[in-house]
């Protein structure tokens, strides 16, 4: 196993050959794979199986092996037979909720990342304050925002909006089906933007300052520099972080964020798919039905992920093409036409 003479390609660098024993590598992955199998693979395949059965949590049907009923659960979900829980409406709201949050959180995150990347006094303090919401417990988030969304005249947001003459009478916030949606979206953005800021900040710090020099000499404004140099360079990170956040928000995080604040109410106004799955599985006990909803979510997320990968590949190719021309000539070319 001592192949000292050969050169092995290693992570883009060539290193002198060494004790390369793959069995050690496999043994390093083993504990991780065991956990992934227990925690995700077994539940996943079991979930797929359950989605084709009539398994329930309680009652007579919960004992013994559940009956195999084919695609009945899926048909029921898609045909929307259960009038009490409109699947399409919940799905649509989950999609809107996730997309709006991702867009707002990205813009806010980018805003803070650019400003906090500048050298300034107390920068670490500002950064810490900006990152704080990421680490706030969802229960604490709910209690602390309840004062902001107080439906009386004394509520902080009501007071502010009335002082600005934006509204005539106090908003009901969590009591009104439209404003409850606005509430949870504001909270979602509040919780999601710090991660965007951190990721974009780390991307911005990775940019070599010297590439701005030609543009500075040519007299480019800050906005032009951002548009033609910074933004293309942080594009790959932006796509990754948006994709990750979208997948997490759509599939997992929406539960904690909404359950603690409105619990899906008023009525079913702020129901999202994650809450719907929990409700179907653990309140109504319809395990099979819940599993089939989740599998459709996975299918949808899979399609989204493919879309993201494609977009990322295209943007990487565009960035490559752009890099072929030097920044300087590109700037002069495009800046020249603007001037």
């Amino acid at each position: 196993m001592f192949n000292k003479a050969t050169k092995k390609k290693h992570g883009g660098r060539y290193v002198q050959g060494t004790i390369v024993r793959k069995s050690i590598g496999y043994s390093m992955l083993t504990p991780c794979v065991i956990f992934m199998i227990i925690v995700q693979a077994i539940p996943f395949f079991y979930g797929v199986y359950v989605s084709f059965t009539d398994k329930t949590l309680f009652g007579a049907a919960s004992k013994g092996t559940p009956n195999f009923i084919g695609v009945t659960n899926y048909v029921n979900v898609l045909a929307n037979t259960n009038k009490a829980s409109d699947f399409y409406q919940v799905f649509g709201f989950t999609l809107v909720y996730s997309v709006v949050i991702i867009v707002c959180a990205y813009l806010l995150g980018l805003y803070f990342a650019i400003l906090l990347n500048r050298p300034m006094k107390y920068r670490n303090l500002f950064r810490s304050l900006a990152f704080l919401p990421w680490f706030v417990n969802p229960m604490v988030m709910a209690t602390s925002w309840s004062q902001m969304f107080d439906p009386t005249v004394d509520g902080i947001l009501n007071k502010l909006f009335m002082a600005l003459k934006l509204i005539e009478e106090p908003l009901l916030w969590k009591g009104d089906s439209f404003w409850a949606k606005v509430c949870i979206i504001i909270l979602g953005v509040w919780k999601a933007y710090p991660m965007m800021t951190v990721m974009l900040l780390s991307a911005l710090q990775g940019i070599d300052k010297s590439i701005y020099e030609p543009a500075t000499i040519a007299g480019a404004s800050e906005i032009q520099k951002f548009r033609y140099i910074t933004f293309p360079l942080i594009m790959p990170m932006s796509i990754t972080v948006c994709a990750l956040q979208f997948i997490w928000m759509f599939g997992t995080n929406s539960y904690d964020n909404i359950m603690t604040v409105t619990a899906g109410g008023p009525g079913r106004a702020t129901y999202v798919l994650t809450i719907e799955v929990f409700n179907q599985a653990f309140k109504r006990g319809k395990m099979g039905f819940a599993a089939s909803i989740s599998l459709m979510m996975l299918l949808f997320l899979g399609v989204c992920a493919l879309l993201f990968v494609t977009v990322k590949k295209i943007s990487a190719r565009v960035a490559e093409k752009k890099e072929e021309r030097s920044f300087e000539s590109k700037f002069l070319e495009e800046g020249g036409t603007e001037a």
Binding site: K9, R13, V15, Q16, I19, I24, Y26, M28, L29, P31, C32, F35, M36, I38, V39, Q40, I42, P43, F44, G47, V50, F112, L115, R118, N124, F126, S128, L129, A130, F131, L132, P133, W134, F135, V136, N137, M139, V140, T143, S144, M148, D154, M199, L201, S202, A203, Q205, G206, I247, W248, G251, D256, T274, V277, F278, A281, A291, I293, M297, L298
Partner: protein, 289 residues
């Protein structure tokens, strides 16, 4: 830091004006963002009965009675201890297992390793709702229901992917040559990992630990599903219990005091370790590409 008293040149004046503008652009949104937390802090020092009269930011007759009640009459530190145990063990396990696997995919090449890398991306996509139903069945059949071990195992499994990405990014930046000389002296791959590579990846470990710890500390869905016995519940559920138990006006102060104490570790982490978080994530090369 000498301050020259010469008149400033126009360019410098302009620079200074931009700087001042930037302060405003940062501070004004930050005030709005931290407002809910600040009001919580101020409310935690008010008597529950005053809460609806005294709406100001600075309490008129401040009190620490809320904190006394939370700490002495309501077993706050019991919940807190549970949180520390669950999140601590989950974080330790996750970082150890995750960095071992990250080291594996950083140092070895081959079909199985690329497949593993792909799997870490695919697993992130599985919605919690899909696995939570079967997880419930698996945990019940393993006899782990209503034990802290159940959530620890689940937390380790669910946070592994992020750890692997961050640690792989870090290990990629550590040159292989450092290890090579150790191999020549007969050092094994595992020893080299523990003695040479891990100490060098300190910021990465810090970042992973912080993210995993805070993620599990704030987790709600799994904990509420698997932990029913109040003696073993973490602080998130403790807070939920407070909120359900104290519904009348006089006791709202307790909830705010509990919120402040719950958020305190997060505040400490953010203020003392934010540079590790940024450093750790900028090391996560595999997330970028």
């Amino acid at each position: 830091m000498k301050k020259a008293k010469l008149p400033l040149s126009p360019a410098k004046k302009r620079q200074r004006r931009i700087n001042i503008l930037c302060y405003f652009l940062v501070i004004i949104p930050l005030v709005f963002i931290s407002l809910p937390l600040v009001t919580t802090l101020s409310s935690s020092f008010k008597y529950g009965v005053d809460m609806f009269v005294d709406k100001g930011l600075i309490p008129k007759n401040p009190t620490v009675e809320n904190y006394q009640y939370i700490v002495f009459n309501y077993d706050f530190f019991g919940y807190f201890k549970n949180s520390l145990i669950i999140s601590g063990i989950a974080t330790f396990g996750c970082v150890m297992i995750g960095s071992l696997a990250g080291y594996g995919i950083s140092r070895f090449r081959g079909g199985a390793f690329s497949l593993f890398k792909l799997m870490t991306y695919v697993l992130q996509m599985i919605p919690m709702g899909l696995v939570i139903v079967p997880m419930y069945i698996v945990i019940r059949s393993l006899g782990l229901y209503d034990t802290q071990l159940s959530v620890m195992v689940l937390y380790i499994g669910l946070n592994l992917c992020l750890c692997i990405w961050i640690m792989k990014g870090f290990f990629d930046t550590i040159p292989y040559d450092i290890e090579e000389s150790a191999f020549m002296d007969g050092c094994g791959q595992y020893r080299s990992f523990l003695r040479i590579v891990m100490p060098l990846a300190g910021p990465g470990i810090a970042c992973c630990s912080i993210l995993t710890f805070m993620g599990t500390y704030n987790e709600l869905a799994l904990a509420s599903l698997f932990l029913k016995n109040t003696a073993i519940q973490p602080i998130t559920l403790g807070m939920q219990n407070f909120a359900q138990q104290f519904t009348n006006a006089e006791t709202w102060g307790y909830i705010y005091a509990g919120s402040v104490l719950t958020t305190l570790p997060a505040v400490l982490v953010v203020f003392f370790a934010q540079k590790y978080i940024i450093a750790g994530l900028s090391g996560a090369g595999s997330l970028k590409g």
